[in-house]
Symmetry: C2
Subunit: 587 residues, 2 copies
Amino acid sequence: MATATGVLDTINTIQDVKKLTPQELNLLAEEIRETLIKRVDITGGHFGSNLGIIETTIALHYVFNSPLDKIVFDVSHQCYAHKILTGRKAGFTDPNSYSKYTGYTAPEESDHDLFKVGHTSTSVSLAVGLAKGRDLLGKKGNVIALIGDGSLTGGEALEGLNNAAVLGSNLIIVLNDNDMSIAENQGGICNMLTQMRQQRGNVKNNFFEALGLEYFYLDEGNDLQKLIALFKQVKDTNHPVVLHIHTQKGKGFTPAEINKESFHWIMPGTISHLNDAPKPMDEDYNSITRNYLLQKVSEGMPIVAINAATPGVFGFNKAFRNEMGTHYVDVGIAEEHAVAMTSGLAKSGAKPVFCVSSSFVQRTYDQLSQDLALNSNPATILVYWGGISGADATHLTTFDIPLISNIPNMVYLAPTCKEEYIRMLDWSVQQNKYPVAIRVPTNFVSCRIKDETDYSILNKFKMVEKGNKVALIGVGTFFWKAREVKSFLKTKLDLNATLINPRFITGLDVDMLNSLKANHQVVVTLEDGELDGGFGEKIARFYGSSDVKVLNYGSFKEFTDKVSRDALYTKYRLTPQLIAQDIKSVI
Amino acid sequence: MATATGVLDTINTIQDVKKLTPQELNLLAEEIRETLIKRVDITGGHFGSNLGIIETTIALHYVFNSPLDKIVFDVSHQCYAHKILTGRKAGFTDPNSYSKYTGYTAPEESDHDLFKVGHTSTSVSLAVGLAKGRDLLGKKGNVIALIGDGSLTGGEALEGLNNAAVLGSNLIIVLNDNDMSIAENQGGICNMLTQMRQQRGNVKNNFFEALGLEYFYLDEGNDLQKLIALFKQVKDTNHPVVLHIHTQKGKGFTPAEINKESFHWIMPGTISHLNDAPKPMDEDYNSITRNYLLQKVSEGMPIVAINAATPGVFGFNKAFRNEMGTHYVDVGIAEEHAVAMTSGLAKSGAKPVFCVSSSFVQRTYDQLSQDLALNSNPATILVYWGGISGADATHLTTFDIPLISNIPNMVYLAPTCKEEYIRMLDWSVQQNKYPVAIRVPTNFVSCRIKDETDYSILNKFKMVEKGNKVALIGVGTFFWKAREVKSFLKTKLDLNATLINPRFITGLDVDMLNSLKANHQVVVTLEDGELDGGFGEKIARFYGSSDVKVLNYGSFKEFTDKVSRDALYTKYRLTPQLIAQDIKSVI
C-alpha cells in the first residue's frame, strides 16, 4: 500500500490509475487535492472548479480508455486533475514546470486533450461532432462531454442537447452540478437543478427526459466508488445519456467550500494570505461604475445593470448587487439573451447597462447587430479588458474593435482616462438615440480636468496638440502610447508631432483628417487590438487617395497563447523607438 | 351581417376588430386568407407561415390592447395579418401599395411593431426586456412573445426561456406549433413537441414546466373562439406562461397544407403557375455542390453536409437528402451548434461541409473563432449569397467578409467562377490543415478553363492581365466588375490596367503587391460587401507607407432596407464610369 504522499508519485500515465485499489484511488484524490491547493496558491488559476471535479476525473480515467474514449471538457478550466493523470504531473508538482502547461485543455500538449477551449457551453456540440464522425468512420469508443451546471444555460449547450437527443448512438453527457456558475446560478434551469438535487433526481418533469435523453442522478458526486459504478453502468451505451452528478465546488478547502464565488479563480498568494487584513479599495473603473449606477438609481433613473455570470469581473460585489436590487440582473451564461434583453429594456424606456469582457462580447455578434443596432435602441454596453495581453489563446481581448466597430449604427467610444469615461457613460445613459459601447480602459489614469465634451456630436476627434509633419492618433489606452511616441519624436528627431485623441472608434472626423493634409506627411494610428478590421485601416482607407502616408500599429491577426505583453509589443513594433524608426523611414 | 367580402372592408384599426361578432371574426379570417393568397402570389413572400397564424393574430388583437399590450413577433415573417389589422391593409389589398410595407415588423411603420426583426429565436429575450422595463417603470400591460416551434431550437430562444422563468411578472409566450421549421424540424425538442401534440399537452415530462413556466395547450390553434378564450384566461397574468398552440401551416391553401416546405416562402407567380410543367434544372452552384458531395460519398469519403434549417437555400432537396442518408444533417435553427459540431466532426477525421447564408453566418461568430479556428480543424464552410443586394434590412449579406476574414487561422476563399469554385471546394475537403470558408459566388459564370491551382499555397493572388499605372483587384463576383472597369479604362482613357483575382480574402500576396509598386500609381479594390473591416482596407493599410494610392470600392457601413442593387451600386460608385472618374482624379 502506498503512503499518504506516495500514490501520486506512482502515476505517470493513466494506465497507472487503472491498477489502483479503491483505497489508493481515494488517497490519489487527496494527494491531487493537496497538490492543486499548493500549486494554485503560487500560480493563481481556477481553484474551486478543479477541487470539486477531482474524483470525477479519476473515475473517468479509471473506467474509460482515453484517448480511444474521448473526454471533452466544457470551458476546460476544470482540467487540472486530468492533466496530472495524463502525463503532465510535473506542471503541478514541480515549481520549475508550473508554467509548462496552459490552464486549459490543449491538443498540442497531449492526445488526451481534444480541443483548445476556454469559452463555455461548447462541449455537447463538439462531442456530438466527434460521435457522429466516429459512427460515420466505423470507429469505436465512448464520447464523453463534461459540462458544468453553469455552462448549461448557454444557448450553444442547449442547441447541443437538442441535437444530442437524436444522435442515436453512444454519447455520455456528464453534468457536473456544483450549484454554482462563477457566481450563483440563476434562471429556470438553476431552479430545476436545485429541485433535482433536493429530490435526488426524481422530479415530476424531467428536463432531460423531456428532450429524449436518458437520465441518471448521483448525489455523492465526490464518492469515487459510486462514480466508478455509474460510469461502468453506462460505458459503451448505444444511445445518449445524461449523468447528473452532484459535486462540491471547492471540496477539501473549507474557505472555498463556503465562499465558492471568491475561490472560483484565485490570484497567486490568495491562500497563503488568507488571514491578511483586506486592503482598502482604491478607486478604479469598477468603483466608478458602481458608484455611478447606484447614484442614478437613487435619483430614480430606471437603470438596469446586466451581466452574464461574471459579476466579479466588473466589481459587482454582493453589497452592490443587494443595493441595486431589481436594478441588477445576472442572466447566467447567456450573452445572447443579455444583449436582446438589453434592447428590449431600452425600447421600454429603461436604461440598461450591459457589462461584458472583450473576450465574451464575441459570443453575441448577431444580437448586437440585429436585436440592438438594427433597432437603434439606446443601450449602453461596457466592454472590459479590451487590449493586447498575455492571456491564454482562449481569452484574447484583441478582437472587440473589429467585431463591434463594423456594425452599422453602433457608436463605439474609447475613453483615455477616468474623466472621459465618466462623461461618456453619463452621456450614453442619458441619450435616447444610439446603441453605445464604451471600451473601458485597462489602465486607470486621470486627465486631471473634467471632460465636458458633447458626445452627441458623433465622430468628433479631439486635437490635443497641434504640430506638423507627423500626426499621431492614439485610440483609448493607446492614446498614452501615442503621447510617448510624441515625446520621443521631439527628443530624438526634433519633430513636433500632432497628437489626436479620436474618442470615437466607429467613425472618422473627416474635417479634421482633411485638415491634416495641409502640413502632415504621415498619419500614425495606434490601437490596443487587432489591426485587421480595426480603426487604423479605416484611416488608411481614408488617406488612400491622397499623398498622406499612413502607418498602423496594433496587434496582428493571430491567436497568441500566454505570450507576455512586452514580447507582443516588441513583435508588433509597439514601442516609441520602433515607431519612430518607421516614421523616419517614410518622411 | 357583413358579406363574404365585406368584413375586411370595415377594418381600419384594431378597434374595429374588437366590435366583430364570432361569425364576423371567422369571415375576417377567411377574407384575410384570400387576400394573402392573392397578394403573395403577385409579390412573393412568406406564405405558409402567414396562412397558419391568421386566427391567432386576430384573437390576439381581439383580446389584447396593442400597443399598450406589446406583441413581439419572432422572425416576424408571419406578421402579414398583424399588418393588415393595424392600419396597413392597403399594403395587401391595393396592388399599387403592395410594396409600401416591408415583409417584417418595422417600428417606423407602426407603433404596433416593436422591433425590426428577421433573424429567429429572439422574441422571448426581447419580450423579457420589455417586461422587465415595464415593471421597473411601474407601467402596465401584457407582453406577448409569439414564437414558432422551429425558432425554439435556437440558443437565444432557450437562453430567453431560462430567464423568462424567473421574471416573476406578466409574460405570455405563445408557441405557434405548426410542426415545421422551413423544412421538417428535427431534434429532441421537435420529438417532444410531437408527443405533446399527440397527447394534447399531457406528457410525463413537461419541458416548460421543468423550467418553471406555467403551460397551456390548445390543439385547435386555428379555432378563433378557442384562441380568444385561452387568451382571455391568461390576460393580465402575474407570471410567465407558455401557450402551446397547434396550428396548421399553409392553412386554407391545400397545396401549401400538403407541401409545407415548398410554400414556406414563394416566388411571385407560384400559385398562378401551380400546374405548369416543372422547368428542367439548369446547372448552378447548388447542383454542382450536390453532385460533388454525392460523388465523394459514393467514393467512400466521410463527407457530412450540414445546414441549419434552410436546406432549400442550398438546393438540398428531398432526393439529395435521402441519397446522402447519414451523410446529411439538418441541425435545426442552431448555427452555433452547427459550427461546433462541424469542428468536432473534422477533429474525428470526417469531412464536414456546413452550408450557411451570409446573413446567418453572423449568428455564430464565437464558434467560428473559438470552436473552429482556434483549433484549426479542417472543415469547410460554404457561405451563400454574400454580396450587395436589395434585401430587407434584416437579411443583408454584406457583413460576412468583415466577420470571417478577421478571425485568425480562417482561410476565406472567393472563387470567381464555377471552375475555381469546384477546385477550391475539392481542395478544402481533401486538406487536413485549415478551417476554410468559401464565398459561393452569386452569379453563375464559367471561366471556360479548368482551374488547377494549388490552394495549399495560401494567399497567392492570380495575376490575370499585366498592365501598368492602374491595378484592379476584384474579389470573387466583383472580379467581373473589375474586368468591366479595365475595359472601360482601355476604351475611354487608353489605360492598360493590371487585373488581379486575389482568390484569398484572408491574406495578402505581399510579393505581388510589392511588385506592383514599380509601375503602378494606384491600386483599386472592388469587393461585394462592406468596406469597413473588409478586404480593401487591408490593401490600403499595406500601401499606407508607400507612394501607391489606393481606392476601395464596396458597400458602406449601413443597414439598407429594400434599396435596389442598382441604386446601391450608384450610391457606392460601383460603376465603371464612376470608378474611372475617381481613378482619373488621382493619376
